[in-house]
């Protein structure tokens, strides 16, 4: 392989990885607090993109206003989703909650099909994000330079919120022991709601960044990114924020490098994400940075 090709692939990998990382953080936040695989996360991601699309086109808002509005709406939607679909099942078996998540995902997708229409829409081009930047022999879309910066900023901000604020303290308390957190006069419902809000906010942001990079929207667009980013979160150790970032990058690099070094296997690309997932689950179920949880007898 030529060196320039290799660097181009490396850039591709990092650009894809940072996008995965951004979305995986949201996944991991929600899992961290409720131990729930939020199957609807990918659909919240889709909604974020659509909200931004309609705000920017139908309501003719400037793009940055549209983004802020969309992210806000997505966060609110996430909180509503938790309230309607997950809170009533808080004391139910894990399987019930998971099924509810699957059902919610189904519902959002189907409503999306009716409301947004099944035909794909394309996001209007925003020059700031949609210019090609050449770095020597490597070329990259400008949005791909923003995404790692945003991911890093989010990582820092979240680490600060979780480790440096009272809300974060409450989040960590709720995630380890619900009843003990209640005894500390923590408003458990609000804390969970807020975590969902942050997670969904990140999904919304991720959805928008995604459509900046791949400018098409359809109601099922969240399914694959949702699964992939979930895998990324599991690889890194679900519930662990830096782990999600690590997992996102690993997955991005793996997907690109498989194609780069073994082009005849391109058709199997989607399978590799799952192979990686299963290997990690079997070798270290708690993920690369996750903690092992012993089962009490």
């Amino acid at each position: 392989m030529e060196l320039s090709t290799f660097f181009q692939q490396l850039t591709n990998a990092l650009s894809l990885g940072s996008l995965y990382a951004l979305i995986a953080i949201g996944y991991t936040m929600v899992y961290g607090i409720l131990r729930l695989i939020n199957f609807a996360h990918g659909d919240v991601f889709m909604l974020g993109a659509y909200f931004a699309f309609y705000a920017a086109t139908s309501l003719a808002m400037p793009w940055w206003v549209a983004f802020i509005v969309a992210i806000g709406l997505t966060a609110m939607f996430g909180m509503g989703l938790e309230r309607v679909a997950y809170r009533p099942l808080r004391d139910s078996p894990k399987i019930s909650v998971m099924i509810s998540a699957i059902g919610a995902s189904f519902l959002i997708e189907n409503v999306g099909i009716v409301v947004f229409g099944g035909r794909p829409k394309s996001f209007p081009s925003i020059p700031l994000f949609d210019t090609v930047v050449h770095l020597g022999p490597v070329s990259v879309l400008s949005v791909s330079l923003f995404i790692p910066v945003i991911t890093a900023a989010i990582l820092v901000a979240l680490l600060w919120i979780v480790n440096g604020t009272k809300t974060g303290l409450a989040m960590r308390a709720v995630s380890t022991d619900l009843d003990a957190a209640r005894l500390m006069a923590i408003d458990v419902n609000r804390t969970i709601s807020m975590t969902f809000g942050i997670g969904s906010l990140l999904a919304g942001l991720g959805g928008i960044m995604w459509t900046m990079k791949y400018p098409q929207l359809n109601p099922l667009m969240g399914v694959m990114p949702g699964l992939k980013c979930f895998i990324a979160a599991v690889i890194g150790g679900i519930g662990n924020i830096p782990g999600a970032v690590l997992g996102g990058f690993l997955l991005g690099v793996l997907e690109i490098m498989i194609v780069a070094f073994l082009p005849e296997l391109t058709g199997y690309r989607d399978a590799f994400a799952f192979v990686l997932l299963i290997v990690v689950l079997l070798v270290k179920p708690s993920g690369l940075l996750g903690k092992h949880q012993a089962v009490k007898v």
């Binding site: 392989m1 030529e2 090709t5 181009q8 692939q9 591709n12 990998a13 650009s15 894809l16 099909i113 229409g117 099944g118 035909r119 794909p120 829409k121 394309s122 081009s125 090609v132 050449h134 070329s139 990259v140 879309l141 995604w210 990079k213 791949y214 400018p215 098409q216 359809n218 099922l220 667009m221 399914v223 694959m224 990114p225 997907e255 690109i256 490098m257 498989i258 194609v259 780069a260 082009p263 391109t266 058709g267 690309r269 989607d270």
Partner: protein
């Protein structure tokens, strides 16, 4: 507990009552029913909607057919197959059984047509495929016909174009590996291109991606390093548009060639500037009228929908007209007689050219080659078989 059950039971009852009453609509003696069997939701929704537009326009222009001196009103029974095979077979069965249609039109997506094919065959109802180009659709099924050309022809046409017009000697193929259409077309293209160049190594690489993939940077970086003269990338229009966009971002300058699925507004909407210069085979062009009907179609389409028609819409239009034509020729609304009339179609003048069906039920038709220019699909040339 009781409440939930009650709700479900109640809805089920209401649903079946309403559903049945809908299905059992007055079987008017003076009505012919055309079943429209299309993906209106799911992955293929856009294609289904295009075909349906063409059919609706045709119905508006030709709402009746005269048989034996009696005027019959044409009704459409529309069933959504959700871009899903199980549903497709159900929807097809529903059309022939509950809606008691005499003819079926559709479906976008050869796989869906194939799923319902046996249903129509069993029920002995003729079905007219509109834009389903897979050779297997009509194979072994005396009740399935179509008004579009086939993939082998399309592949050859594009290979010829690549060899002669582009002057390409080395090509790269990017296939949507989970899409039968894309895989088939890629193969036909490759075979023809190798024959034309006389060089087994003229296809530098066949790279794959999956439906719904959105990041193709790895495959494209590979393509870039291979420096092909031309890239053949048949597939779904959204993925294809994203591929071309990302290729241009990587600085790949080689021309992109594709198939009929590209000719849809979304292809340009998603790809924007990047898809300028992309070349594809198509069924029809507005600027190159093939029959007197072409002009009628284009004008009335623009009037009804306020936009230029796509090649897919025109096939919906033609399918509807072919059905009427067959009914007239059979002078009967009996499905079996209609079938025989359809099978005997010769030089039927549709909006998208003349249709003559061969023994398989496939037409021998010209293809049109188009290019994206200034945000529009622009006619380049017509290729006769």
């Amino acid at each position: 507990m009781k409440k939930a059950i009650l709700v479900i039971v109640a809805i089920a009852i209401v649903a079946s009552v309403v559903g049945c009453s809908k299905a059992e609509t007055k079987t008017d003696a003076n009505v012919v029913k055309f079943g429209v069997f299309e993906p209106l939701t799911g992955a293929n929704a856009a294609g289904g909607a295009e075909e349906l537009d063409g059919i609706r326009l045709a119905q508006e222009l030709y709402p009746t057919v005269t048989v034996g001196g009696k005027e019959y009103k044409i009704e459409l029974a529309i069933a959504d197959n959700k871009s899903d095979k199980v549903e497709a077979a159900n929807a097809g069965q529903r059309l022939v059984d509950s809606d008691k249609v005499q003819v079926v039109l559709g479906s976008w997506g050869s796989g869906l047509s194939m799923a319902a094919g046996p249903v129509f065959k069993d029920a002995q109802i003729p079905a007219i495929g509109l834009s389903c180009t897979n050779p297997l659709v009509t194979k072994d099924n005396p009740f399935y016909f179509r008004v579009c050309f086939l993939d082998p022809f399309q592949g050859t046409v594009m290979a010829n174009y690549a060899y002669k017009d582009v002057g390409a000697r080395k090509a790269v193929i990017i296939r949507e590996v989970s899409n039968d259409y894309s895989v088939g077309l890629a193969k036909f293209f490759a075979d023809s291109f190798k024959a034309l160049t006389g060089d087994q190594g003229s296809i530098l690489a066949e790279l794959n991606y999956n439906t719904n993939d959105q990041d193709f940077s790895a495959q494209l970086t590979q393509v870039k390093s291979l420096k092909p003269d031309v890239i053949f990338a048949p597939g779904n229009y959204t993925e294809s548009a994203l591929i071309i966009k990302q290729a241009r971002e990587l600085g790949i300058a080689a021309p992109f060639l594709g198939g009929d699925t590209w000719e849809i507004a979304e292809f340009i909407n998603v790809g924007k500037q990047a898809v300028e210069g992309a070349v594809m085979s198509a069924f029809f062009d507005n600027d190159a009228p093939l029959t007197p009907l072409s002009k009628v179609f284009v004008e009335s389409y623009q009037k009804k929908y306020g936009k230029l028609p796509s090649g897919t819409a025109v096939l919906g239009f033609d399918g509807y007209l072919l059905a009427i034509d067959a009914i007239k020729r059979a002078d009967s609304v009996d499905p079996l007689k209609i079938r025989d009339a359809v099978a005997a179609t010769k030089d039927f003048a549709g909006a998208a050219g003349y249709v003559t069906l061969d023994a398989n039920g496939d037409p021998i038709k010209s293809a049109v080659i188009k290019e994206v220019k200034g945000g529009k699909f622009v006619f380049k040339t017509t290729v006769a078989p």
